[in-house]
């Protein structure tokens, strides 16, 4: 049985299993924000079923609604799956429908442009090799100044290192301090690591557009970089969908029987802390902090306790949101929403439940181990006047590091 046949059967079974009880509605942040019947996950399942069952060519009279609903009103966060009476994998159905819409050239233009940029340049922001290398060198100088250690490095193309570290290109472009924080942690832990001058992007926008071929190409690129550099593991920076794609989805796309070792930076750092490889002082992060659980990392990824273990070690006081872990509310930034400007107002409206959840904690710092979430939470911070600082977890760890010199 081919992969496409297998997936088609899974979709067919799932579609036939929906009893349309409507009890998924309250699980969805879009519905919670608006109480519009069309925001209900079951409605999206209904439309996904129309798309998946449609003969070729797709009915042009229906495509506008399909695109608007399945791209513009779903972040594929998977919360509905846990609340579904029959346990339908609703994000998989929505993505399956997006795959058909993608094949018909119906992906919203700016999301498609991001996919195309990745295929053309090797990263989703079109950063050139020179720009990337220059950024890394600048951060290396910063690291040396920060640690007072002239031997501190951000290794590039170091063959035989233990692992290859990859980032969300937003870090290179807008949030270089995130990469600096990780480099400081690696330096403090004495890690054997490297960056690649060519393949540094862990994001995978084919996941969102539904284009399996593009998704496979992005994932393959990192695997090939691992082989070229002779590293034993691929370490993924703080990015939810990148983790889901490279850890869980890539083996299927690439037909891997024995996938390489792919781990989240959070697993690595939690291990460093457990092994006492980092000397940290939590009093350096004295502000009340809360933790946002990125859907792709937690509910769909299984990285649940590691961020909690890290925060407990490096932050003086932190509180859980309610609900949390696999029950967390989506911030609204996933599913490619940040890459589709035409749905921006809707995205901000759908983030209201998350904003209320943050406000209820009373925290002034929100730790969010995902750069897409950070962008969305930053927007929610402004939209709803939350007055919080949004940060990665590694920045909190780096802020708590105590340098022996």
């Amino acid at each position: 049985m081919t992969l496409s046949t297998s997936i088609a059967r899974r979709h067919a079974t799932a579609l036939a299993s929906c009893v349309r009880c409507g009890l998924c509605a309250e699980a969805c942040h879009y519905y919670r924000a608006t109480h519009e019947p069309r925001e209900t996950p079951a409605y999206k399942v209904k439309l996904a079923g129309e798309v998946l069952r449609s003969p070729e060519p797709l009915d042009p009279a229906r495509t506008a609604e399909w695109v608007d609903e399945l791209f513009g009103r779903c972040s594929m966060c998977g919360r509905c799956m846990f609340h579904c009476t029959t346990g339908l994998n609703i994000p998989a159905l929505v993505r399956g429908a997006r795959t058909r819409l993608s094949a018909a050239g119906l992906v919203p233009a700016d999301l498609q442009a991001t996919v195309d940029t990745t295929l053309r340049t090797g990263n989703s922001m079109g950063i050139t090799r020179d720009e990337w290398v220059e950024t890394v060198r600048w951060l290396e100088d910063e690291l040396r100044a920060e640690t007072g250690d002239a031997s501190a490095r951000l290794p590039l193309d170091a063959h035989g290192a233990e692992f290859l570290y990859t980032v969300n290109p937003r870090e290179a472009k807008f949030f270089p301090l995130s990469l600096l924080a990780v480099a400081a942690i690696f330096h403090a832990a004495g890690a054997s690591w490297t960056l690649s001058s060519e393949s540094f992007d862990l994001t995978n926008y084919g996941v969102f557009s539904g284009d399996d071929r593009a998704a496979a190409q992005s994932a393959r690129r990192l695997r090939e970089a691992m082989q070229q550099l002779g590293v034993r593991a691929l370490v993924l920076g703080e990015c939810g969908h990148g983790f889901n794609a490279n850890r869980w989805r890539a083996p299927e796309w690439l037909h891997e029987d024995t996938p390489p070792r792919v781990v989240s930076i959070l697993e690595l750092v939690a291990g460093y802390l457990a092994d006492a490889r980092l000397n940290v002082d939590p009093s350096r992060n004295a502000l009340l902090t809360t933790l946002h659980d990125p859907c792709n990392l937690v509910r769909l990824g299984g990285i649940v306790e590691e961020p909690r273990a890290i925060l407990s070690a490096v932050v003086e006081r932190w509180v859980e949101m309610a609900p949390n872990r696999e029950q967390n509310l989506c911030c609204g930034g996933g599913g490619g929403q940040l890459g589709m400007a035409q749905y921006a107002r809707r995205r901000l409206a759908a983030g209201r439940p998350k904003a209320e959840q943050i406000r209820a904690t009373g925290a002034t710092v929100v730790a969010a181990p995902c750069h897409n979430c950070i962008d969305q939470l930053g927007d929610l911070n402004k939209e709803y006047g939350l007055g919080v600082k949004v940060t990665t977890i590694c920045e909190l760890v780096a802020g708590a590091l105590v340098w022996n010199n």
Partner: protein, 155 residues
Amino acid sequence: MDPRLKDGVRAHPVVLVAGVLLHAGIAASGLATLAAVTGAAWPNWLRIACAVLSATGAVSGLLLLVRRLREPVLQAISIADDYISNLLVVGVLIAAALLSIVPQAQPVLLLAWAVLAAYAPFGKIRHCVLFFVTRARFGAFIGARGVLVGRSRPS
């Protein structure tokens, strides 16, 4: 996942109760039909219990049908199959409840089951089988990723 933790159930607890009663009624009506067809001797209390459960199930099914007709969310997601399946199941439940009062209703009950069985492969009644497939896949999905490992209940 504990149904009580589900947002939809918290918002609509009556729907959970009605759903459970509907399914209990279906099981009871199946038992009543089996006993009637095989001519098995069964205690009077069990016969009455099955009749009561079938009747309660029928009422629950009708309440769920009314809800489907009234709720905007359900109107948006419903298709013809939802009404057909509901009415076929309610038909069986009413016939099963009647059987305890009117033994001559057995042919009606068997006819109701036959129509239901003939329709089942084409509608959502398939979930009586597919529910287990979907649940198993859901369990495999989150189990492989370790989503619920090392934790108890959300705080």
